[in-house]
Amino acid sequence: MTYHFRQALLAMRGNLTATLGTLTTMTLTLLMLGGVLLLTLNVNRTLEGLESQVEVAAFLEGEADGAALLRQVEALPGVREAQLVPSEAVLAEMTRDYPSTAEAAKLVGNPFPDTLRVRVGRVEDSRPVAQAVERLPGVEDVEYGAGYVDQAVRTLTTVRAAGYGLVALLFAGTLLSILNAVRVAMYARRREISVMRLLGATRGFIRTPHVIEGVLLGTLSSALALAVLAPGYLALAERVAAFAPVFPVVRDQGTLLPLLGAVAMLGILTGLAGSLFATQRYLRELE
Protein backbone atom coordinates (compact mmCIF):
# COMPACT_ATOMS: atom_id res chain seq x y z
CA MET A 1 0.00 0.00 0.00
CA THR A 2 2.81 2.39 0.86
CA TYR A 3 4.30 1.50 -2.50
CA HIS A 4 1.09 2.35 -4.31
CA PHE A 5 0.61 5.54 -2.34
CA ARG A 6 4.13 6.68 -3.12
CA GLN A 7 3.61 5.85 -6.77
CA ALA A 8 0.39 7.87 -6.80
CA LEU A 9 2.10 10.91 -5.29
CA LEU A 10 5.02 10.53 -7.68
CA ALA A 11 2.63 10.36 -10.62
CA MET A 12 0.76 13.44 -9.45
CA ARG A 13 3.97 15.37 -9.10
CA GLY A 14 5.33 14.05 -12.36
CA ASN A 15 2.27 15.19 -14.30
CA LEU A 16 1.74 18.39 -12.39
CA THR A 17 -0.02 20.14 -15.24
CA ALA A 18 -2.44 17.27 -15.66
CA THR A 19 -3.01 17.12 -11.92
CA LEU A 20 -3.64 20.86 -11.65
CA GLY A 21 -5.80 20.78 -14.74
CA THR A 22 -7.99 18.04 -13.35
CA LEU A 23 -8.09 19.67 -9.96
CA THR A 24 -9.20 22.98 -11.44
CA THR A 25 -11.83 21.48 -13.72
CA MET A 26 -13.15 19.23 -11.01
CA THR A 27 -13.30 21.95 -8.37
CA LEU A 28 -15.04 24.27 -10.77
CA THR A 29 -17.53 21.60 -11.72
CA LEU A 30 -18.34 20.86 -8.12
CA LEU A 31 -18.62 24.59 -7.43
CA MET A 32 -20.97 24.99 -10.36
CA LEU A 33 -22.90 21.89 -9.44
CA GLY A 34 -23.28 23.15 -5.89
CA GLY A 35 -24.20 26.58 -7.15
CA VAL A 36 -26.81 25.27 -9.55
CA LEU A 37 -28.23 22.94 -6.92
CA LEU A 38 -28.54 25.81 -4.48
CA LEU A 39 -30.05 27.98 -7.17
CA THR A 40 -32.51 25.22 -8.04
CA LEU A 41 -33.43 24.83 -4.43
CA ASN A 42 -34.24 28.52 -4.23
CA VAL A 43 -35.92 28.63 -7.59
CA ASN A 44 -38.11 25.74 -6.54
CA ARG A 45 -39.09 27.48 -3.34
CA THR A 46 -39.91 30.60 -5.28
CA LEU A 47 -41.88 28.65 -7.86
CA GLU A 48 -43.86 26.90 -5.14
CA GLY A 49 -44.62 30.29 -3.64
CA LEU A 50 -45.64 31.67 -6.99
CA GLU A 51 -47.76 28.71 -7.93
CA SER A 52 -49.65 28.91 -4.67
CA GLN A 53 -50.46 32.48 -5.67
CA VAL A 54 -52.08 31.54 -8.92
CA GLU A 55 -55.51 32.84 -8.09
CA VAL A 56 -58.26 34.48 -10.10
CA ALA A 57 -60.08 37.30 -8.36
CA ALA A 58 -63.58 38.20 -9.63
CA PHE A 59 -64.93 41.52 -8.45
CA LEU A 60 -68.73 41.34 -8.19
CA GLU A 61 -71.20 44.04 -9.06
CA GLY A 62 -72.85 45.55 -5.97
CA GLU A 63 -76.19 43.82 -6.53
CA ALA A 64 -74.89 40.40 -7.63
CA ASP A 65 -75.86 37.19 -5.77
CA GLY A 66 -72.51 36.10 -4.40
CA ALA A 67 -73.59 32.66 -3.17
CA ALA A 68 -75.17 31.71 -6.52
CA LEU A 69 -72.10 32.88 -8.45
CA LEU A 70 -69.91 30.91 -6.08
CA ARG A 71 -71.78 27.72 -6.96
CA GLN A 72 -71.55 28.48 -10.69
CA VAL A 73 -67.85 29.14 -10.49
CA GLU A 74 -67.15 26.00 -8.48
CA ALA A 75 -68.75 24.00 -11.28
CA LEU A 76 -66.31 25.36 -13.91
CA PRO A 77 -63.65 22.93 -15.18
CA GLY A 78 -60.12 23.64 -13.89
CA VAL A 79 -61.31 25.25 -10.68
CA ARG A 80 -59.88 23.68 -7.59
CA GLU A 81 -61.39 25.84 -4.95
CA ALA A 82 -63.42 29.03 -4.76
CA GLN A 83 -64.26 31.33 -1.92
CA LEU A 84 -66.56 34.33 -1.51
CA VAL A 85 -64.98 37.20 0.35
CA PRO A 86 -67.36 39.99 1.32
CA SER A 87 -66.15 43.55 0.84
CA GLU A 88 -65.61 44.15 4.57
CA ALA A 89 -63.29 41.15 4.79
CA VAL A 90 -61.29 42.44 1.81
CA LEU A 91 -60.92 45.82 3.46
CA ALA A 92 -59.80 44.26 6.72
CA GLU A 93 -57.25 42.19 4.88
CA MET A 94 -55.90 45.11 2.91
CA THR A 95 -55.75 47.23 6.05
CA ARG A 96 -53.69 44.56 7.72
CA ASP A 97 -51.26 44.39 4.81
CA TYR A 98 -51.14 48.06 3.95
CA PRO A 99 -52.14 50.18 6.99
CA SER A 100 -52.58 53.31 4.91
CA THR A 101 -55.64 51.74 3.30
CA ALA A 102 -57.54 52.38 6.52
CA GLU A 103 -57.06 56.13 6.21
CA ALA A 104 -58.09 56.08 2.55
CA ALA A 105 -61.20 54.07 3.48
CA LYS A 106 -62.05 56.60 6.18
CA LEU A 107 -62.09 59.28 3.52
CA VAL A 108 -63.87 57.55 0.65
CA GLY A 109 -65.63 54.60 2.30
CA ASN A 110 -64.88 50.94 1.57
CA PRO A 111 -63.69 50.99 -2.03
CA PHE A 112 -63.59 47.19 -2.35
CA PRO A 113 -66.41 45.14 -3.90
CA ASP A 114 -67.41 41.63 -2.82
CA THR A 115 -64.81 39.31 -4.32
CA LEU A 116 -64.75 35.71 -5.47
CA ARG A 117 -61.31 34.15 -4.99
CA VAL A 118 -60.80 31.21 -7.33
CA ARG A 119 -57.84 28.83 -7.16
CA VAL A 120 -57.02 26.85 -10.25
CA GLY A 121 -55.34 23.46 -10.35
CA ARG A 122 -52.54 24.39 -12.70
CA VAL A 123 -50.98 27.65 -13.79
CA GLU A 124 -52.06 27.04 -17.38
CA ASP A 125 -55.73 26.90 -16.33
CA SER A 126 -55.85 30.42 -14.99
CA ARG A 127 -56.50 32.14 -18.32
CA PRO A 128 -59.51 30.01 -19.49
CA VAL A 129 -60.99 30.06 -15.99
CA ALA A 130 -60.63 33.82 -15.80
CA GLN A 131 -62.33 34.24 -19.18
CA ALA A 132 -65.18 31.90 -18.19
CA VAL A 133 -65.71 33.72 -14.90
CA GLU A 134 -65.68 37.10 -16.58
CA ARG A 135 -68.55 36.03 -18.87
CA LEU A 136 -70.79 35.24 -15.88
CA PRO A 137 -73.48 37.86 -15.22
CA GLY A 138 -72.89 39.80 -12.02
CA VAL A 139 -69.09 39.78 -12.40
CA GLU A 140 -67.80 43.27 -12.99
CA ASP A 141 -64.14 42.60 -13.50
CA VAL A 142 -61.60 39.79 -13.27
CA GLU A 143 -57.96 39.94 -12.28
CA TYR A 144 -55.43 37.19 -12.41
CA GLY A 145 -51.68 37.09 -12.02
CA ALA A 146 -51.14 34.62 -14.85
CA GLY A 147 -49.47 37.13 -17.09
CA TYR A 148 -46.96 37.78 -14.38
CA VAL A 149 -46.77 34.35 -12.78
CA ASP A 150 -46.60 32.52 -16.08
CA GLN A 151 -43.67 34.55 -17.21
CA ALA A 152 -41.91 34.14 -13.91
CA VAL A 153 -42.43 30.41 -13.90
CA ARG A 154 -41.20 30.07 -17.44
CA THR A 155 -38.17 32.25 -16.89
CA LEU A 156 -37.16 30.47 -13.73
CA THR A 157 -37.67 27.08 -15.35
CA THR A 158 -35.45 28.19 -18.20
CA VAL A 159 -32.79 29.39 -15.79
CA ARG A 160 -32.94 26.08 -13.96
CA ALA A 161 -32.75 24.07 -17.18
CA ALA A 162 -29.80 26.15 -18.37
CA GLY A 163 -28.15 25.48 -15.03
CA TYR A 164 -28.67 21.76 -15.38
CA GLY A 165 -27.36 21.85 -18.92
CA LEU A 166 -24.28 23.70 -17.79
CA VAL A 167 -23.68 21.24 -14.98
CA ALA A 168 -24.08 18.32 -17.37
CA LEU A 169 -21.51 19.86 -19.70
CA LEU A 170 -19.16 20.60 -16.87
CA PHE A 171 -19.60 17.10 -15.60
CA ALA A 172 -18.68 15.71 -18.98
CA GLY A 173 -15.70 18.04 -18.87
CA THR A 174 -14.66 16.75 -15.48
CA LEU A 175 -14.99 13.13 -16.45
CA LEU A 176 -13.00 13.72 -19.60
CA SER A 177 -10.43 15.56 -17.56
CA ILE A 178 -10.09 12.68 -15.12
CA LEU A 179 -9.98 10.07 -17.84
CA ASN A 180 -7.40 12.17 -19.52
CA ALA A 181 -5.31 12.68 -16.41
CA VAL A 182 -5.28 8.94 -15.81
CA ARG A 183 -4.50 8.34 -19.43
CA VAL A 184 -1.62 10.77 -19.36
CA ALA A 185 -0.25 9.10 -16.28
CA MET A 186 -0.63 5.66 -17.78
CA TYR A 187 0.77 6.70 -21.12
CA ALA A 188 3.76 8.19 -19.44
CA ARG A 189 4.20 4.75 -17.88
CA ARG A 190 3.17 2.70 -20.89
CA ARG A 191 6.49 1.02 -21.51
CA GLU A 192 6.83 0.49 -17.81
CA ILE A 193 3.35 -0.97 -17.59
CA SER A 194 3.93 -3.47 -20.35
CA VAL A 195 7.24 -4.44 -18.78
CA MET A 196 5.58 -4.89 -15.40
CA ARG A 197 2.92 -7.06 -16.98
CA LEU A 198 5.58 -9.20 -18.62
CA LEU A 199 7.36 -9.59 -15.31
CA GLY A 200 4.17 -10.94 -13.77
CA ALA A 201 2.54 -7.92 -12.14
CA THR A 202 -1.25 -8.17 -11.99
CA ARG A 203 -3.58 -5.59 -13.43
CA GLY A 204 -4.67 -4.62 -9.95
CA PHE A 205 -1.09 -3.91 -8.96
CA ILE A 206 -0.73 -1.56 -11.90
CA ARG A 207 -4.10 0.10 -11.50
CA THR A 208 -3.95 0.81 -7.79
CA PRO A 209 -1.73 3.91 -7.78
CA HIS A 210 -3.84 5.52 -10.49
CA VAL A 211 -7.06 4.80 -8.63
CA ILE A 212 -5.55 6.27 -5.47
CA GLU A 213 -4.60 9.32 -7.48
CA GLY A 214 -8.17 9.67 -8.71
CA VAL A 215 -9.65 9.42 -5.24
CA LEU A 216 -7.12 11.88 -3.84
CA LEU A 217 -7.95 14.36 -6.57
CA GLY A 218 -11.66 13.91 -5.99
CA THR A 219 -11.33 14.45 -2.27
CA LEU A 220 -9.15 17.49 -2.71
CA SER A 221 -11.54 19.03 -5.23
CA SER A 222 -14.50 18.40 -2.96
CA ALA A 223 -12.75 20.04 -0.05
CA LEU A 224 -11.79 23.04 -2.13
CA ALA A 225 -15.25 23.39 -3.61
CA LEU A 226 -16.96 23.23 -0.22
CA ALA A 227 -14.49 25.67 1.26
CA VAL A 228 -15.53 28.22 -1.34
CA LEU A 229 -19.17 27.28 -1.73
CA ALA A 230 -20.41 27.17 1.85
CA PRO A 231 -19.26 30.58 3.09
CA GLY A 232 -19.86 32.13 -0.31
CA TYR A 233 -23.45 30.98 -0.45
CA LEU A 234 -24.22 31.95 3.11
CA ALA A 235 -22.85 35.43 2.56
CA LEU A 236 -24.84 35.86 -0.64
CA ALA A 237 -28.00 34.44 0.92
CA GLU A 238 -27.73 36.86 3.79
CA ARG A 239 -27.34 39.75 1.44
CA VAL A 240 -30.25 38.71 -0.75
CA ALA A 241 -32.41 38.13 2.30
CA ALA A 242 -31.59 41.64 3.53
CA PHE A 243 -31.98 43.30 0.16
CA ALA A 244 -34.92 41.46 -1.34
CA PRO A 245 -36.85 39.81 1.48
CA VAL A 246 -39.55 38.77 -1.01
CA PHE A 247 -37.33 35.88 -2.14
CA PRO A 248 -37.62 32.88 0.17
CA VAL A 249 -33.84 32.24 0.31
CA VAL A 250 -33.01 28.84 1.76
CA ARG A 251 -30.76 29.24 4.76
CA ASP A 252 -31.60 26.39 7.12
CA GLN A 253 -28.76 23.95 7.79
CA GLY A 254 -31.04 20.93 7.65
CA THR A 255 -31.50 21.49 3.92
CA LEU A 256 -28.06 22.85 3.10
CA LEU A 257 -25.78 20.36 4.84
CA PRO A 258 -27.08 17.23 3.06
CA LEU A 259 -26.86 19.06 -0.24
CA LEU A 260 -23.26 20.12 0.33
CA GLY A 261 -22.44 16.64 1.59
CA ALA A 262 -23.87 15.16 -1.59
CA VAL A 263 -21.74 17.47 -3.69
CA ALA A 264 -18.63 16.37 -1.80
CA MET A 265 -19.51 12.68 -2.10
CA LEU A 266 -20.11 13.15 -5.78
CA GLY A 267 -16.64 14.64 -6.18
CA ILE A 268 -15.01 11.70 -4.46
CA LEU A 269 -17.10 9.16 -6.33
CA THR A 270 -16.30 10.84 -9.62
CA GLY A 271 -12.61 10.57 -8.84
CA LEU A 272 -12.99 6.91 -7.94
CA ALA A 273 -15.26 5.89 -10.80
CA GLY A 274 -13.31 7.91 -13.36
CA SER A 275 -10.01 6.37 -12.43
CA LEU A 276 -11.43 2.86 -12.14
CA PHE A 277 -12.94 3.14 -15.58
CA ALA A 278 -9.93 4.85 -17.11
CA THR A 279 -7.41 2.39 -15.71
CA GLN A 280 -9.43 -0.53 -16.94
CA ARG A 281 -9.93 0.94 -20.34
CA TYR A 282 -6.43 2.21 -20.94
CA LEU A 283 -4.78 -0.87 -19.51
CA ARG A 284 -6.64 -2.87 -22.13
CA GLU A 285 -5.61 -0.31 -24.73
CA LEU A 286 -1.97 -0.64 -23.77
CA GLU A 287 -1.90 -4.40 -23.93
Binding site: Y3, R191, E192, S194, V195, M196, R197, L198, L199, G200, A201, T202, F205
Partner: protein, 250 residues
Protein backbone atom coordinates in the same frame (compact mmCIF):
# COMPACT_ATOMS: atom_id res chain seq x y z
CA UNK B 1 23.34 -33.16 -20.06
CA UNK B 2 19.86 -34.42 -20.65
CA UNK B 3 20.30 -37.07 -17.99
CA UNK B 4 20.69 -34.42 -15.34
CA UNK B 5 17.03 -33.66 -15.21
CA UNK B 6 16.31 -36.78 -13.19
CA UNK B 7 18.55 -35.54 -10.40
CA UNK B 8 16.44 -32.45 -9.82
CA UNK B 9 13.90 -32.65 -7.00
CA UNK B 10 10.43 -32.17 -8.44
CA UNK B 11 9.39 -29.62 -5.83
CA UNK B 12 11.72 -27.07 -7.39
CA UNK B 13 9.07 -26.69 -10.03
CA UNK B 14 5.88 -26.33 -8.01
CA UNK B 15 3.35 -25.51 -10.69
CA UNK B 16 -0.23 -26.52 -10.01
CA UNK B 17 -1.32 -29.92 -11.35
CA UNK B 18 1.74 -30.67 -13.47
CA UNK B 19 0.60 -33.47 -15.72
CA UNK B 20 4.04 -34.14 -17.11
CA UNK B 21 6.43 -32.17 -14.95
CA UNK B 22 9.41 -33.11 -17.05
CA UNK B 23 8.22 -31.34 -20.15
CA UNK B 24 8.66 -27.66 -19.45
CA UNK B 25 7.85 -26.44 -22.96
CA UNK B 26 5.91 -28.35 -25.60
CA UNK B 27 5.09 -26.94 -29.05
CA UNK B 28 2.69 -29.13 -31.02
CA UNK B 29 2.23 -28.15 -34.69
CA UNK B 30 2.46 -24.51 -33.72
CA UNK B 31 2.11 -21.81 -36.34
CA UNK B 32 2.14 -18.10 -35.65
CA UNK B 33 0.92 -15.49 -38.12
CA UNK B 34 1.07 -11.89 -36.97
CA UNK B 35 -2.01 -9.96 -38.07
CA UNK B 36 -0.27 -7.33 -40.15
CA UNK B 37 2.24 -9.58 -41.83
CA UNK B 38 1.77 -12.00 -44.69
CA UNK B 39 4.36 -14.67 -43.99
CA UNK B 40 4.23 -17.04 -41.03
CA UNK B 41 6.57 -16.08 -38.19
CA UNK B 42 6.48 -19.73 -37.01
CA UNK B 43 5.47 -22.56 -39.28
CA UNK B 44 4.27 -25.92 -37.94
CA UNK B 45 6.73 -26.12 -35.09
CA UNK B 46 7.13 -29.27 -32.97
CA UNK B 47 9.47 -28.89 -30.01
CA UNK B 48 9.81 -30.45 -26.57
CA UNK B 49 12.09 -28.93 -24.00
CA UNK B 50 12.58 -30.87 -20.81
CA UNK B 51 13.21 -29.76 -17.32
CA UNK B 52 16.85 -28.88 -16.68
CA UNK B 53 17.83 -28.58 -20.34
CA UNK B 54 19.99 -25.83 -21.80
CA UNK B 55 18.80 -25.07 -25.32
CA UNK B 56 20.15 -22.65 -27.90
CA UNK B 57 17.80 -21.14 -30.44
CA UNK B 58 19.61 -19.93 -33.52
CA UNK B 59 18.54 -18.64 -36.90
CA UNK B 60 18.83 -15.68 -39.19
CA UNK B 61 17.38 -12.30 -38.40
CA UNK B 62 13.61 -12.70 -38.61
CA UNK B 63 13.66 -16.50 -38.37
CA UNK B 64 11.23 -16.56 -35.45
CA UNK B 65 13.37 -16.85 -32.32
CA UNK B 66 11.70 -14.00 -30.45
CA UNK B 67 8.32 -15.24 -31.62
CA UNK B 68 9.08 -18.56 -29.93
CA UNK B 69 9.84 -16.74 -26.68
CA UNK B 70 6.72 -14.62 -27.03
CA UNK B 71 4.57 -17.72 -27.24
CA UNK B 72 6.08 -19.25 -24.10
CA UNK B 73 5.43 -15.97 -22.25
CA UNK B 74 1.89 -15.72 -23.63
CA UNK B 75 2.92 -12.42 -25.15
CA UNK B 76 1.46 -13.81 -28.37
CA UNK B 77 -1.00 -16.66 -29.02
CA UNK B 78 -0.46 -19.40 -31.60
CA UNK B 79 -2.56 -19.17 -34.74
CA UNK B 80 -2.61 -22.96 -34.97
CA UNK B 81 -1.40 -25.80 -32.80
CA UNK B 82 -0.89 -25.94 -29.07
CA UNK B 83 1.73 -24.50 -26.76
CA UNK B 84 2.13 -26.09 -23.32
CA UNK B 85 4.15 -24.55 -20.55
CA UNK B 86 4.74 -26.53 -17.34
CA UNK B 87 2.38 -29.22 -18.56
CA UNK B 88 -0.60 -26.97 -19.19
CA UNK B 89 -1.77 -25.48 -22.47
CA UNK B 90 -1.51 -21.71 -22.73
CA UNK B 91 -5.27 -21.40 -22.95
CA UNK B 92 -5.47 -22.48 -19.30
CA UNK B 93 -3.41 -19.47 -18.23
CA UNK B 94 -6.03 -16.80 -18.00
CA UNK B 95 -6.32 -13.50 -16.12
CA UNK B 96 -4.33 -13.71 -12.92
CA UNK B 97 -2.74 -17.02 -13.87
CA UNK B 98 -0.93 -15.35 -16.75
CA UNK B 99 0.79 -13.18 -14.18
CA UNK B 100 1.59 -16.21 -12.03
CA UNK B 101 3.07 -18.01 -15.03
CA UNK B 102 5.27 -15.06 -15.92
CA UNK B 103 6.51 -14.76 -12.35
CA UNK B 104 8.01 -18.22 -12.71
CA UNK B 105 9.84 -17.36 -15.91
CA UNK B 106 12.97 -15.25 -15.79
CA UNK B 107 13.26 -13.34 -19.06
CA UNK B 108 15.96 -11.31 -20.74
CA UNK B 109 14.12 -9.43 -23.46
CA UNK B 110 15.89 -8.67 -26.69
CA UNK B 111 14.95 -5.01 -26.39
CA UNK B 112 16.05 -5.21 -22.76
CA UNK B 113 12.99 -3.76 -21.14
CA UNK B 114 14.14 -2.10 -17.96
CA UNK B 115 11.87 0.12 -15.89
CA UNK B 116 13.21 3.53 -16.84
CA UNK B 117 12.48 5.43 -13.67
CA UNK B 118 14.01 2.83 -11.37
CA UNK B 119 17.66 2.36 -10.49
CA UNK B 120 19.51 -0.81 -11.46
CA UNK B 121 18.96 -2.08 -7.92
CA UNK B 122 15.23 -1.38 -7.99
CA UNK B 123 14.86 -2.93 -11.42
CA UNK B 124 16.29 -6.17 -10.14
CA UNK B 125 14.37 -5.95 -6.87
CA UNK B 126 11.13 -5.44 -8.76
CA UNK B 127 11.07 -9.11 -9.75
CA UNK B 128 11.43 -10.06 -6.09
CA UNK B 129 8.58 -7.72 -5.17
CA UNK B 130 6.30 -9.17 -7.81
CA UNK B 131 7.12 -12.75 -6.90
CA UNK B 132 6.44 -11.95 -3.25
CA UNK B 133 9.92 -12.36 -1.77
CA UNK B 134 10.03 -10.61 1.63
CA UNK B 135 11.79 -7.25 1.56
CA UNK B 136 14.53 -8.16 4.01
CA UNK B 137 15.93 -10.71 1.57
CA UNK B 138 16.20 -8.20 -1.26
CA UNK B 139 19.51 -6.48 -0.52
CA UNK B 140 21.46 -9.73 -0.31
CA UNK B 141 19.86 -11.34 -3.36
CA UNK B 142 19.95 -8.23 -5.55
CA UNK B 143 23.53 -7.60 -4.47
CA UNK B 144 24.54 -11.10 -5.49
CA UNK B 145 22.79 -10.84 -8.84
CA UNK B 146 24.40 -7.50 -9.67
CA UNK B 147 27.81 -8.82 -8.62
CA UNK B 148 27.30 -11.79 -10.90
CA UNK B 149 27.05 -9.50 -13.93
CA UNK B 150 29.81 -7.18 -12.71
CA UNK B 151 27.65 -4.18 -11.89
CA UNK B 152 27.91 -3.97 -8.13
CA UNK B 153 29.29 -0.44 -8.46
CA UNK B 154 26.40 0.89 -10.56
CA UNK B 155 23.44 -0.17 -8.41
CA UNK B 156 22.10 3.37 -8.11
CA UNK B 157 22.28 4.28 -11.79
CA UNK B 158 19.09 4.53 -13.78
CA UNK B 159 18.98 2.86 -17.20
CA UNK B 160 19.73 6.08 -19.13
CA UNK B 161 22.84 6.45 -17.06
CA UNK B 162 24.13 3.07 -18.15
CA UNK B 163 25.72 1.98 -21.39
CA UNK B 164 23.74 -0.44 -23.52
CA UNK B 165 25.88 -3.35 -22.43
CA UNK B 166 25.41 -2.41 -18.78
CA UNK B 167 21.67 -2.24 -19.28
CA UNK B 168 21.74 -5.68 -20.83
CA UNK B 169 23.58 -7.00 -17.81
CA UNK B 170 21.03 -5.47 -15.45
CA UNK B 171 18.36 -7.30 -17.43
CA UNK B 172 20.28 -10.54 -16.98
CA UNK B 173 20.58 -9.92 -13.24
CA UNK B 174 16.85 -9.31 -13.10
CA UNK B 175 16.13 -12.56 -14.90
CA UNK B 176 18.19 -14.71 -12.57
CA UNK B 177 17.61 -13.01 -9.20
CA UNK B 178 14.39 -14.88 -8.36
CA UNK B 179 15.84 -18.32 -9.19
CA UNK B 180 13.10 -19.05 -11.71
CA UNK B 181 12.41 -22.62 -12.82
CA UNK B 182 12.57 -21.44 -16.45
CA UNK B 183 14.81 -18.81 -17.96
CA UNK B 184 14.34 -17.30 -21.42
CA UNK B 185 17.19 -15.16 -22.73
CA UNK B 186 16.73 -13.45 -26.07
CA UNK B 187 20.06 -12.31 -27.49
CA UNK B 188 21.43 -11.40 -24.05
CA UNK B 189 24.93 -10.72 -25.34
CA UNK B 190 24.12 -8.57 -28.39
CA UNK B 191 25.65 -5.48 -26.81
CA UNK B 192 28.40 -7.21 -24.88
CA UNK B 193 32.06 -7.57 -25.70
CA UNK B 194 33.43 -11.12 -26.02
CA UNK B 195 34.73 -11.18 -22.43
CA UNK B 196 31.45 -10.14 -20.87
CA UNK B 197 29.53 -12.41 -23.22
CA UNK B 198 31.51 -15.43 -22.07
CA UNK B 199 30.99 -14.43 -18.47
CA UNK B 200 27.23 -14.25 -19.05
CA UNK B 201 27.29 -17.70 -20.65
CA UNK B 202 29.09 -19.08 -17.62
CA UNK B 203 26.48 -17.54 -15.34
CA UNK B 204 23.66 -19.05 -17.35
CA UNK B 205 25.32 -22.44 -17.29
CA UNK B 206 25.72 -22.15 -13.55
CA UNK B 207 22.05 -21.29 -13.15
CA UNK B 208 21.21 -24.23 -15.37
CA UNK B 209 23.28 -26.53 -13.19
CA UNK B 210 21.17 -25.47 -10.20
CA UNK B 211 18.10 -26.81 -11.99
CA UNK B 212 16.79 -24.00 -14.12
CA UNK B 213 15.72 -24.80 -17.66
CA UNK B 214 17.41 -22.29 -19.98
CA UNK B 215 16.38 -21.28 -23.50
CA UNK B 216 18.85 -18.92 -25.13
CA UNK B 217 18.28 -17.25 -28.49
CA UNK B 218 21.50 -15.95 -29.93
CA UNK B 219 23.50 -14.98 -33.01
CA UNK B 220 26.84 -15.48 -31.28
CA UNK B 221 28.38 -18.31 -33.26
CA UNK B 222 31.51 -18.50 -31.13
CA UNK B 223 29.51 -18.89 -27.91
CA UNK B 224 27.35 -21.62 -29.37
CA UNK B 225 30.43 -23.46 -30.54
CA UNK B 226 32.40 -22.97 -27.34
CA UNK B 227 29.70 -23.83 -24.80
CA UNK B 228 28.01 -26.75 -26.49
CA UNK B 229 24.36 -27.53 -25.77
CA UNK B 230 21.35 -28.77 -27.64
CA UNK B 231 20.73 -26.35 -30.50
CA UNK B 232 17.48 -25.65 -32.35
CA UNK B 233 17.92 -23.98 -35.71
CA UNK B 234 15.07 -21.99 -37.21
CA UNK B 235 14.84 -20.87 -40.81
CA UNK B 236 11.93 -18.68 -41.85
CA UNK B 237 9.79 -19.98 -39.03
CA UNK B 238 10.52 -23.67 -39.60
CA UNK B 239 12.60 -25.89 -37.36
CA UNK B 240 15.31 -27.13 -39.72
CA UNK B 241 17.67 -28.73 -37.21
CA UNK B 242 17.49 -30.03 -33.66
CA UNK B 243 21.00 -31.02 -32.74
CA UNK B 244 21.56 -32.49 -29.28
CA UNK B 245 25.31 -32.27 -29.75
CA UNK B 246 25.19 -28.55 -30.47
CA UNK B 247 27.07 -26.47 -33.03
CA UNK B 248 26.19 -23.44 -35.11
CA UNK B 249 24.98 -24.62 -38.48
CA UNK B 250 23.68 -21.66 -40.46
Amino acid sequence: MLGREHDQPVFLFPWPRPRRPRRVIVFRNVSLAYPASGALALDDLNVRIHKGEFVYLVGHSGAGKSSFMNLVLKRALPSRGEVQVAGEPLSRYRGRRTALLRRRIGTVFQDNLLLEHLSAYDNVAFTLQVTGVPGREWPARVGTALRTVGLEGRADARPVQLSQGEQQRVAIARAIVADPPLLLADEPTGNLDPDHAREVLRVLQHVNLRGTTVVLATHARDLVETFRHRTLTLRQGRLVRDDAAGGYAL
